[in-house]
């Protein structure tokens, strides 16, 4: 029988939510590693019981956990993320050079074929890879050493590499996004990288269409169309159909195109979900109404989805890593809030229910479809 496992990272621990294929009744695990931040947990596509989790806090630094039994037990693996060579400097908020310093792991992306291989996106922005289940990590330093690296600057949350996408048709093709450097693509497994920012326009930059400096909040891809990517930028929702070589704005009729999360329907490559947030100064929904917006046309035309979501007095945020979909026949959509709720829709966004309501602030939501 099929079911769903939702891996939830919060500011004060990790949680695992499980349900059968109906997705009506949910079990919530005990808190895992209570008191620690979990920026991300993600399972291997080829072995769902293999889960990697990024555990950190400001006092004790970065730890990395690995489970081989679906999150019932955990093993601490290596958390040494050492930059390759002398890391040099990037740009600080005030424009001065600032040394590259490792702070935490924002994103984990397990290989599509090998449960022991996993990529990590870190702050200060860099990409690491482990091929031994997290026992050791090696930087793919071609990214950080890109000729534009000294111009990269942090966003408000730090200079984080928060998105890693692997092309299912060509595993050597990788995409990453960095706040606030932009988006990059590698066609050789992560050795060499190029910025993919043509068409992005950020009015807060001295040069609004600069090659780097854009605060890309999130990228999403449907596995059947890996040349098409969707982007939630700081402001603007964008798409590319040529692997990032050019981008078009698809904000269309969105009431605000600021936001963090974006994802694609599991079975409909042109159906996209975003959660509009009022502004970069007001990180909450418009008018106190929590609404997901769905486009069935790949952007530009968007419809609000609010059935089951709070429509008054709601001032939560939905962070970039906090939305995902399942791949059951009727696609499930999930997102978590900084108010501690995780909402789920078992009907592609038409209606929603809170599957847990009072967790610590939710940082990440990853969904595993268990068959």
């Amino acid at each position: 029988m099929s079911g769903v496992r939702v891996l939830v990272g919060t500011r004060k621990g990790a949680f695992i939510l499980t349900s059968d294929g109906k997705r009506k009744n949910w079990e919530v695990s005990d808190v895992q590693f209570g008191g620690w931040q979990f920026y991300h947990l993600k399972g291997s596509p080829v072995d769902p019981d293999r889960i990697y989790a990024s555990q950190s806090n400001d006092w004790f630094g970065q730890k990395m956990q690995r489970s081989s039994d679906g999150g019932r037990t955990w093993e601490t693996v290596d958390s040494k993320f050492v930059y390759d060579g002398v890391p040099g400097t990037h740009q600080w908020y005030d424009g001065t050079p600032h040394p590259w310093e490792f702070k935490r792991v924002w994103h984990l992306e397990p290989s599509l074929t090998d449960p022991d291989t996993v990529f990590a996106g870190v702050e200060d922005a860099a990409m690491f890879k482990s091929t031994d289940g997290g026992a050791t990590w090696t930087e793919l330093s071609g990214l950080r050493r890109h000729s534009t690296g000294s111009k990269w600057a942090p966003g408000a949350g730090g200079m984080c590499l928060h998105t890693i996408l692997i092309d299912p048709a060509d595993h050597d093709r990788l995409y990453v996004a960095i706040s606030a450097a932009g988006a990059f693509r590698s066609d050789d497994g992560g050795a060499a990288w190029k910025p993919i920012t043509r068409g992005l326009y950020s009015k807060y930059l001295p040069v609004p269409d600069a090659e780097v400096g854009h605060c890309v909040h999130r990228l999403a891809m449907h596995p059947s169309r890996p040349r098409t990517l969707f982007m939630q930028k700081h402001w603007d929702v964008m798409r590319t159909d040529d692997s990032g070589d050019s981008w078009q704005k698809i904000s269309g009729n969105l009431p605000t195109d600021f936001g963090f999360a974006i994802d694609v329907h599991a079975h409909e490559p042109e159906t996209v979900f975003v959660v509009p947030i009022k502004s970069d100064s007001e990180h909450y929904p418009l008018d106190g109404k929590l609404q997901v917006f769905r486009s069935r046309s790949g952007g530009n035309e968007w419809e609000p989805l609010s059935k089951g979501l709070p429509q008054k007095d709601c001032y939560v945020n939905v962070l970039r890593e906090a939305m995902d979909v399942d791949s059951l026949d009727s696609c499930g959509v999930y997102f978590g809030t900084t108010g501690g709720q995780v909402y789920a829709s078992a009907d592609g966004g038409d209606s929603w229910q809170a599957i847990v309501r009072d967790l610590p602030p939710v940082v990440s939501v990853e969904v595993q479809t268990i068959r």
């Binding site: 209570g34 006092w59 004790f60 970065q62 958390s79 040494k80």
Partner: protein
């Protein structure tokens, strides 16, 4: 025997309750205490001293016998009361961040 009080998060990570007792003559400095803790509990590596710099993490402090040892070089001998097991070394997390 040297007794060490670890903060909650590190006890949780290492799966220990109460104090940690370290035996042997080689653990009479703060640096050696941390080495011994990391050897016994590998999951704590990097949590007290930064992996890259080897320096005490900025939001941690070391105390013993009512004194702040945080800025004492790691190779300085610990107080006799600590070495004799009458007083613990305390690794303390700063009250910061709520």
């Amino acid at each position: 025997m040297i007794r060490v009080e670890l903060p909650y998060h590190l006890r949780q990570l290492a799966g220990v309750n109460g104090e940690v007792a370290l035996e042997g003559p080689g653990v009479a400095t703060m640096g050696a205490v941390i080495d011994a803790i990391e050897a016994r509990y590998p999951m704590l590596a990097g949590t007290i001293r930064d992996h890259a710099t080897g320096q005490r993490r900025p939001l941690l402090r070391f105390f013993a016998c009512g004194e702040d040892l945080s800025f004492v070089p790691l190779d300085v001998p610990l107080p006799d009361a600590v070495v004799q097991g009458r007083e613990p070394v305390i690794v303390l997390g700063a009250i910061a961040g709520g």
